[in-house]
Every structure is written in C-alpha cells, then in structure tokens.
Amino acid sequence: MQNDTRRKMVEMTGVTKFFGTLRALDDVSLDVYDGEKVVIIGPSGSGKSTLLRSVNKLEEINAGSIVVDGYQINDPKVNINKVREEVGMVFQQFNVFPHKTVLENLTLAQVVVRKRSKKEAEQIAMDLLAKVGITEKANVYPTKLSGGQQQRVAIARALAMQPKLMLFDEPTSALDPEMIGEVLEVMVKLAKEGMTMIVVTHEMGFAREVADRVIFMDYGKILEEGSPEHFFTSPTHERTQQFMRQIL
C-alpha cells in the first residue's frame, strides 16, 4: 500500500472534448497517483466537471487517452462497467435512488454488480452508515432526509463498492450552508484514511486541509497547479489571482 512506487491511478493525456463547437476540454493532461487528493477549482464552464466526468466515461472524449487503474477506458474493448466498479462518484444533485430506502441505496449495486449476498451487503452498508453518521435512517426513504443527509448517503453508497478512487463533482454546491460542514467532515475523514480522491469544489478550506495538489482550470485548460498554500499566497497566473480574489 506504500506510495513509493507512485502508481498512477489516473493518467490523462491530451484529452480533448467538444460540446458541439465548444471546446470543453482542450488538450488536458493530468496524472493522479495512488492515495493522492487532487482538488480542481475554476469558474463555471471552465471544464472541471467535464474533466471529472470523463474519468469514469460519463462523458466520452473526442481525442486523447485516459487510463484509469491500468485500463485504457477509451478503448471500446475495455468493459467500462468493470472500471466503474472501482471508481466511486458523488454528484452535486446527490442522485440517491428515491424508490429505495437508505439501506437499499447502499446494497443495490453491491448485490447486483459485486454479487455479494444480501446479508454481507447489509453488513457493509450498516458499517458505512455508521461512518457517515446516519445509522438511524437506514430504513427511511431518502426523500425524507435533508440535503446533507442525502449527500452522505450518496457518499456511503459509492463507498459500499469499496472503490479505489473517488470522484466528487461539486458535492456541496447544492447544499444549504449549514449542511456543508457535515458533508465535508465525511470527506476529510475519507481523505485521512488514504482514499485517492479527485474533488471539484469551491471549498478552499477543504482544499487547504486535505489537498496534495490544487488544479486551476479555465477555458478547458489547466492553467495552474500547485499546493493549496501556493494558491492562497502566490498564484502566478492572472486568471487564477482574479478567481482566488472572487472566491475568498
């Protein structure tokens, strides 16, 4: 489990993606190592969500290559479902399954995809619910939960697959301010446990606490990258300086 070999979890090379004529990603290259926490920041429309979503192929790229956990995911012969089993994703809009209880939200993919027994899946699910602090809501339907609780369910649901990599797509942007803390707390805990994470967020406090590297994107390109401290104290690019002034 040591990182001395610095195994690459994600290796993106020359990734380009168009939406119609809009160049959402413009020749982006980015490596994320095992156990690393990378935070992506940037103005809306800068391509950061698209970059994240291309890592588990929710967006198909037009050029370049993406290798995740050793699999070349743009190769049509690679079974993307196998790769996705190992890559958890948390969405801005939570996307919990409203027709399933909290517990069923966590067990569904374990049983259907991982082929675990119901009992084993429930055991894992209950442990994770304890971890995110909503054990008492196990048999409740998620529509009865607050946004913060729903997002914690969504995180636990992704973790139930025991992924090697977690993607967070603005996980706190749809939350009321008083609920942001409880979600970030779970994410910090996860980071401290050594999970490899790519997080699109504007929460610079979170970035400062856990990020190994911060990446600033604009116009579909990576304009600047460095430690959180670098971004707080001496961002070099003019666009970065402007952006940091706006969000801090």
Binding site: N81, E85, G88, Q93, F97, L108, V112
Partner: protein, 270 residues
Amino acid sequence: MAQIDKTKKDPSGGPKKVSIDVGDGAAIPSREDVGLFTAWRVAFFGAIACILYLAFFKPDPYVEILKFLPDGIYVTFKVTVLSIVFALAIGLFTGLGRISKNRFINGAASLYVEVIRGIPLLVQLFYIYYALSKFVNVPDMASAVIAMAVCYGAYMGEIFRAGIQSIPKGQAEAARSLGMTPAQSMFHVILPQAVKTILPPVGNEFVALLKDSSLVSILAVSDLLRRGREYASESFNYFEAYTVIALVYLVITLFLSKLIGIMEEKIRAE
C-alpha cells in the same frame, strides 16, 4: 387514447417535465372536478337503475336479453385482459427501442409506432383476419388479441418512453457510475421509478381498450356487442338489445374508470 405531450427540456438542466394528457379523461372524475364527479354518479347509478327498472317492469324481453349477455361480457373481458398484457409487453420493448441509441432498433420502433398509429384499428382487424388469411389462418380470438395488442402496443410504447424519459438523467448516471450495465440500471433504477408516471395512462388505455374491444365483434368473436347483435337478429328487438348493450358497456366502463381514478389518487398521495 392517450396523447403524450413532452414539453421541452427544462433550461436549468433539471429533470424533464412530462405531462401525459389523456383523451378519455372526461370519463375519469377527480374530486376537484365537482361537476364531472356528479355526472359520473348520475351516469353510473342512472345506468344501473335503468337496467334494474327494465328488468323488473319489462321482463319480456329485457330479462331474456340480460341472460344472453354474460357469455359476451366474459369474452369482452378475456379479449381486453389478454390484449392489455401483450400490449404492455410490446409497449415496453417499443418504449425501450424508441430511446435506444442503436439507430436500427430506434428506427424500427419508431416506424412501428408511426405505421400502427396511422392505421385505424378496425382496418388492422380486417387486415389480420381477412387479408392475411390468404397466407395463414389465424383463429378469431387470436386475430382479435393480436390486432388489439399490436395496435395498443404502439400507444403503450409512447407511454413507456415518456415515463422513462421523465426520470432525471442523474439517476441513470448514478446507477452507471456504480458499475451497473444499461439493463441493470433500467430495471433496478429507472423503470421502478417510471411506473408511477406510467400507471395512470396505462389504466386509461385499459378502459379505452375495453371500449375498442367491441370492434372485434366484426370477427367471429362472441363479445358483448356480438351477443347483442345475435339476439337482436333472432328476435328483431334491435332497440331493446342495443339499449341494454349500451347500458352494460357504460356501467363497466364507468366502474373501471372509477377504479383507475382511485388508484391514480393513491399514487399521487404517496
């Protein structure tokens, strides 16, 4: 028959809003619509009262007609239920085909919907029963069920499509990001949620199909209408026979509509 109107995608990128308007809606009263609710009661109990009145005070020929009909009611139900079951299966496949990214499957499903919706049900019945008899002999009952199921399957397909598309895209993305295949995502995540949207219009199709099943009387299928015709042509009591037939259809249809209305309210309340 149901008409489906899918409004344009919400510009905020939120879930697509889908409303399913139903042409036969007038027969299905909701409690808010007091006028229609009263009309339903007047029609339903009025029709029952008429039947009872005629049976008691004019037993000849009305009791005789009523005795003649249960076989026909049974056949009408049989055609309706069998057709709806097959139509649902066809509808599911058609709906899935209509949203398929595979151009061939999508094209085939769309073509089926357009062709079938463009041909009157009566013509389809004639075609399967009479025209195709040049090549294969399809029994009466089978022709009736095939024609009804194929026809209504096209409408059901549109209901399924609209229902599936009413589920926010994020649900499928969440399912896929957990490693589910498209089929697993459809059957474990999307369809169970779409059922709520799909059920009410399917119920309405059920009522519409029941009424349209009277068309099968032109084949040698002894449904309610045909039994009435048989009686009338023996006794020459056309007025009496068709009056009873109309009243019986009315009672059955209003009763079913009411059931569906109650079911719809329950789904909405959840």
